[in-house]
Amino acid sequence: MSFFTRKRSASSAKERLQLVLVHDRTDLTSTELEALKDDLLKAISRYIEIDADAVQIGVERDGRSQRLVADIPLKNVTRQRAG
């Protein structure tokens, strides 16, 4: 990476810290978070069809508290006509 195009280090520091602090505060490793996502999607899929590729689940910070935010798009269901 050239000196002139390199990303300034403060931004890397902030991004890395954001991730680390979420894990420290929730005591949830990234592997566990992935497992949680899988379980969540499996549970929802039992009732409704979802667009698995477009799913976004993550932990967001809100001041000193964390929230699990999930955006789970549903697939359009074409109702079968009776008769």
Binding site: A13, K14, L17, L21, D24, R61, G63, R64
Partner: protein, 265 residues
């Protein structure tokens, strides 16, 4: 009026807790307050050398706890300020020589004749830290704008929340304005956003701090020191005054030199 007990802590070592305690204590003594500092780092005492009082130690905090002397006898009077005292840590003992209730009792005994009790916490989140926060009515967390210090500060803030100590206030120490300007150091805003607590002061990186501890004369007593100025401001905020935050634009460079020559800075 009874004293307010303020504990200075950080999680990570070496971020400037002891320097902060020595400077804030001197700053408030300069404002005429009666201040007692307690070195909470049993076995690794340092507040005495930073304050320049190492040659006056006869008794320490463990002597008080174990009844070998009166509290008054362990209080070392500062060289310059009549109403500033240090209670040193024991050097040859470990943290288990002090319990949280000992700290509460000592602070209670000091309250009537003191305005501020400043406790210098050891690094870490174990016994010594627990002792240091036991009597605290207010906690200041010191950090540096770098990843390890901010991460450890966040751990400490989490523990303080869990202990229901009330929201701590943050001192960002050793901020280098030129590095921040070049985007090679976390800015004060970044650190505040990450930690989500209230700010009580930003202390710029300043070589006069080392010169001060070399001499055992904290930099607040140097009217020209930028770090000293920042500590004096924090001292006044702790006394309840509304002091605006100082301008931390980089001090070097031609434009600044011209402005200084023109008397604008």
């Amino acid at each position: 009026m009874a004293a307010q007990v303020i504990t200075v802590t950080s999680g990570k070592g070496g971020v400037g807790k002891t320097t902060a305690v020595a400077n804030l204590a001197n700053a408030m003594a300069m404002d005429g307050k009666r201040v007692v500092c307690i070195d909470g780092d049993i076995g690794l005492r340092n507040l005495d050398v930073v304050m320049g009082l190492e040659n006056r130690i006869v008794y320490d905090i463990v002597d008080v706890i174990e009844g070998r002397c009166k509290l008054r006898q362990a209080m070392i009077r500062d060289k310059h300020y009549q109403e500033l005292y240090l209670i040193p840590a024991a050097q040859t003992r470990d943290k288990t020589a002090v319990s949280p209730s000992d700290m509460v009792r000592i602070c209670k005994d000091l309250r009537a004749d003191t305005d501020f009790i400043l406790i210098d916490s050891p690094a870490g989140i174990e016994r010594g830290f627990r002792n240091a926060i036991a009597a605290a009515e207010r906690v200041l967390v010191v950090t540096n704008p770098e990843v390890s210090a901010v991460r450890d500060a966040d751990r400490v803030v989490g523990i303080l929340e869990a202990e229901e100590k009330g929201p701590p206030a943050l001192i960002i120490n050793r901020l280098n304005p030129s590095l921040v300007k070049n985007n090679d150091m976390l800015s004060a805003e970044d650190v505040l956003d990450l930690l989500g607590i209230q700010l009580i002061g930003i202390v710029p990186e300043d070589e006069t701090v080392i010169i001060g501890s070399n001499r055992g004369t904290p930099v607040v007593t140097d009217p020209k020191s930028r770090a000293g100025m920042a500590f004096r401001d924090i001292g006044r905020r702790l006394q309840g005054q509304d002091v605006p935050f100082m301008d931390l634009e980089p001090q070097s460079g031609l434009w600044n030199a011209i402005q200084r020559m023109a008397g604008r800075k």
